[in-house]
């Protein structure tokens, strides 16, 4: 303790040093959060110029709205698909990258490149590649598999296209972390597996995955947050929540309520709900994984 006391003989100096950070966090994080919380209890008109206190009215109307509840269900489905698929695809790609010996760097760049692409660019590119009438992917899907691709009007197709786009965008991030975790597996364990004659897939699932579990838990959490919040740009660019609300995720519904229907009070309430859902999920994931992850 004495070392601290000689460094700062009054705590004033310490607070002074913390001030810029505290000010920035306060102004851009805590204040807006508190404002959101406050606003969620008001009905707003004219971009929030006029407000009227409604208590939990916004929450009541949201939780009784079929559109909103459908959006909640849809978002959970979307998140489940994105989290599971991103982990599965990421793991496969990371494992292949780990095993490959020639051209490792080139493959790695190829694998993480979508992550480096701005979402807006990715969304626009995908929109054209998978466009129902002029997209090159669409052309081959239709000619090889004989499916009718029309995700501008077919709901489940639109959902799938956006979900796959979201996975494609997020896989690179997962691969980076998974590859780092794989490279941390001691070489002698690989050699023990070689001697034991443990096959490739068994090695992946029984040795690598358990050893990577702390990283995997982290990725589950990050992917969940991404699925709930990060998919906005893709939806806005590709489907605008349609067709017939088939891709109307909570984050997009929130955006529409706030900036298209100018209902800031309702949007704030949605914000609070979204926050509670994601915070709750993260908490559950961390608690559950404590039991299974090997730190």
């Amino acid at each position: 303790m004495s070392a601290h006391e000689t460094a700062f003989d009054s705590s004033l100096g310490a607070y002074l040093l913390l001030l810029p950070t505290l000010a920035a966090i306060g102004a851009f994080l805590y204040y807006p959060s508190l404002q959101t919380l406050r606003l969620s209890l008001y009905e707003t008109f004219l971009f929030g110029q006029n407000t009227r206190f409604v208590g939990l009215g916004n929450f009541a109307s949201l939780l009784t709205s079929n559109t909103y509840l459908a959006s909640v269900g849809l978002t959970f489905g979307f998140a489940a698909f994105v989290v599971v698929s991103t982990l599965a695809v990421g793991l496969l790609v990371a494992f292949l990258l780990y095993e490959v010996t020639n051209g490792k760097a080139a493959y790695l760049i190829a694998a993480i490149w979508p992550y480096a692409l701005p979402t807006a660019v990715a969304g626009t590119v995908l929109l054209f590649l998978a466009h129902p009438s002029v997209g090159i992917y669409t052309f081959y899907l239709e000619s090889w598999f004989g499916v009718e691709v029309d995700w501008f009007t077919v709901g489940w197709q639109a959902f799938l296209v956006v979900a796959i786009a979201a996975v494609w965008k997020q896989v690179g991030y997962n691969v980076i972390f998974m590859l780092a975790a794989l490279n941390n597996v001691p070489e002698s364990l690989n050699e023990a597996c070689d001697l034991d004659g443990v096959g490739t897939w068994r090695r992946l699932l029984r040795v690598y995955v358990p050893l990577m579990s702390p990283t995997l838990v982290f990725l589950v959490v990050m992917n969940t947050i991404y699925a709930f919040f990060g998919s906005f740009a893709l939806i806005d660019l590709m489907t605008q929540g349609g067709p017939t609300n088939a891709t109307n995720l909570l984050i997009y519904q929130l955006y529409r309520d706030a900036f298209q229907f100018n209902n800031l009070g309702l949007a704030s309430a949605e914000s609070v709900i979204l926050f509670v859902i994601v915070a709750g999920l993260t908490y559950v994931q961390l608690r559950v994984s404590d039991r299974y992850a090997h730190y």
Binding site: P186, S188, L189, A192, L195, G197, V198
Partner: protein
Amino acid sequence: MTGISLHNLTKQFDDVTAVDSVSLDVTEGEFLVLVGPSGCGKSTTLRLCAGLESTTEGTVSISDRNVTAEPASERDVAMVFQNYALYPHMTARENMTFGLDAAAGFSGTEATERVEEAAAILDIEDLLDRKPSALSGGEQQRVAIGRALVRDPEVFLMDEPLSNLDAKLRVQMRAELAELHAELQTTTVYVTHDQVEAMTLGDRVAVMNDGRIEQVAPPQDLYDAPDTRFVAEFIGSPGMNTVDATLRRRGTVSEIVWGDNTVPLDASPESLGLTSGDRVVFGVRPEDLSADTDGDVRMEVTVTEPLGSTLLVRGTVGGHEMEVSIQPRSLVEVGDQITLGVDPDRLHLFDPESGAAVYHSADSREAIGVDGDGRRDAAVARQGGADD
């Protein structure tokens, strides 16, 4: 039948030759120790046997079967690693059975029986349901050995298995390993940099240096009759003193001379294929020197190291560093001049250029005589024991 046989085994990493045409036969049931300083290629040799490295040249045969091209899992070997290499997320039991699950044709009950059996031998029955993080270093090493045992392999390969243990535990595990081998009689190749471990465990010891085998012999032979200057200096604790000296003949008396010091030699230079005045490397172990007031060798003491059972004295003799092991509690202090006697039956001469042994006096001579001469090509290991 041979347990494991290496023929002209060579391994190159880029432009470094880690293992340089090593040939070695390990008989079935033998405990062979590969010993040498860091970077001498002993671990690489072991890994070549295991199939964890590919050979650049030469062959590896296990039980008379050429396995050079076979993957590690097909070679019927089990390996114990220095860092144990246990799967951290599995219990001791799972660690031991994981390899068995992988091998085809193992029923669950058979695996269980084998684990119980190995656990009983290693005295780890109570630890089977613990994970490695809940085990001490010695216990982890037992589990690692257990994992090798349950596979019932043709050959055990051990890569410095005791190096991560503390000194006391190392000595205890060393004895247990010897006991285990006596019980199981499985062919074992054991790598260590610790020459005490090598001497105590090995039926035979192969001393490696610079990718080559310098000598393969039973431990006592290595100590008594080292083939090369390197072996002489490496084996023993501390190793043999070696000094540059000259052979001289005065009338009928032959002697070894360096500085003002002379040591009589009971063989003529001619009988060794040398002439008076030739340079040689004279070797004598610290244990074979003694404090002797009538001695001809004078040492100026620079360091004294009391080891309890002996007093190790280091000093300069005729400009050369030498060590001598004398009676404990001797009254010797730094700066003293002491005279030393040399055990005439324990003299060694080496060629100054090649380092090959030229002569081992008296009871050393017998062991050399069996081989014909003392100048065997050090690069080619002896096939079989020293007594064949």
